[in-house]
């Protein structure tokens, strides 16, 4: 796989939110406004690129047995830095994102890419992979944010569009709207499955490294090991 493909695959073909179904919590929670989606997306992208870089550089140093705690520590450190920067530079974004900003630590896109990609590939590729996945995450959040803000508040990026013409459906910016829009978007993407080519959610491309990989929604087809256990 060449460098360009490594970069572009995360944007649409293996979009982390809409195709790999990772990082659903922040996607649902912060997509009430398009601006918040972008803020969250950029914060996660920065963390993802930096964590992929560091983990790729250290991939031969970190012992296999303690790799997950090591990754979590690296990611948590980066999140703390990003949190402080956002608090200083864009306090309004910090308030809007609330606890979802520190929760980037447990966003399975980041741990998933660390385990599935950065731990096995050279630095340049890992950076491109992180950047592509981050942009894919941002675009998915932006897409959900635009739909929810337009339908739910009649505005886009805070500018009134349809609010004067049609009464906005407030429920779209509330919790049920998040689930609904996400469900419809996944259905649309599934419809395009043929064009995009199938994506193997259970393999290394998804969050195989995430401890909950076997049980989490990412592996819809995965056998239910928990029943026998």
């Amino acid at each position: 796989m060449n460098k360009l493909q490594t970069f572009t695959k995360g944007i649409i073909r293996e979009n982390p939110v809409l195709r790999l179904v990772l990082g659903t919590c922040p996607a649902l929670a912060v997509s009430t406004e398009a601006v918040n989606g972008i803020g969250m997306g950029i914060a996660a992208t920065v963390v993802l690129v930096l964590s992929n870089t560091i983990i790729s550089l250290l991939r031969n140093v970190i012992p296999d047995k303690v790799r997950i705690p090591a990754y979590i520590t690296i990611i948590a450190g980066l999140v703390t830095v990003v949190q402080i920067v956002i608090k200083a530079m864009a306090p309004s974004i910090d308030t809007a994102l609330g606890i979802y900003l520190p929760l980037i630590v447990v966003n399975c896109i980041i741990l998933g890419r660390a385990e599935a990609y950065a731990a096995k590939n050279p630095v340049v590729y890992s950076i491109l992979d992180g950047l592509g996945m981050g942009i894919g995450f941002t675009l998915a959040l932006l897409c959900m944010g635009i739909i929810r803000e337009l339908l739910g508040a009649g505005t886009l990026f805070g500018i009134t569009i349809t609010a004067n013409v049609i009464a906005p459906m407030t429920i779209m910016v509330m919790a049920p709207g998040g689930f609904f829009v996400f469900g419809i978007l996944i259905a649309l993407i599934n419809k395009l499955e043929k064009k995009l080519g199938p994506v193997d959610r259970s393999s290394g491309s998804a969050c195989a490294g995430c401890p909950s990989a076997d049980m989490c929604g990412a592996n819809e087809q995965a056998p239910e090991k928990e029943v026998e256990a």
């Binding site: 179904v21 659903t24 919590c25 922040p26 649902l28 929670a29 705690p69 979590i72 520590t73 948590a76 450190g77 999140v79 703390t80 949190q83 402080i84 609330g98 606890i99 520190p102 929760l103 630590v105 447990v106 966003n107 399975c108 741990l111 429920i171 509330m174 919790a175 049920p176 709207g177 998040g178 689930f179 609904f180 996400f182 469900g183 419809i184 996944i186 259905a187 599934n190 419809k191 995430c210 401890p211 909950s212 049980m215 989490c216 929604g217 990412a218 592996n219 819809e220 239910e224 928990e226 029943v227 256990a229």
Partner: protein
Amino acid sequence: MIQMIVTILLAGLFTENFVLSKFLGICPFIGVSKKLNTAVGMGVAVTFVMILATLVTYPIYTKLLLPAGLDYLQTIVFILVIAALVQLVEIILKRYIKPLYQALGIYLPLITTNCAVLGVTILNFTNDYNLYTNGYLYAIINSLAGGVGFLMAMCIFAGVRGHLETCDIPKGLQGLPITLISAAIVSMSFLGFGGLAEGIFGA
């Protein structure tokens, strides 16, 4: 004080349900809710770890990090404490309390990266419980309410999904899309609890 406790309980269970209105712990909510027994197991394990995590992180933050001016280290300290705690609990249960381990053991390793657990420990401080004299108690009640709310949402949703299995669903919506849309409807029903605590206390 009683009023505060009841308000926290009602918020965690109904009006600000962790899964259905705060979107914390969506992965297990979607992934493990196919069958009622696994949903209950996961819910109980999450509640257990949430309370334990609060018991440990609350004193660390108020007694150690805040006086030392290190409160910006909250995220990194909390996630490491939770990860270590989950490991420790697993080892202790395996060695000494076999039946409990058999019931909850398989869910424990999955909980470290569950955003509901890290979420509740951080929420205890964004809710400013540490400003009250009974802050520790409130924080524990909050994690109990959050955990039980999670358990309840999982059970309700497991029932909904049981019915979905026998339904004739349009091809494009099968699988994840219809699951999310049903979650939207369950979440919408919880909107009906809005203003519950205010209504009870006439505030």
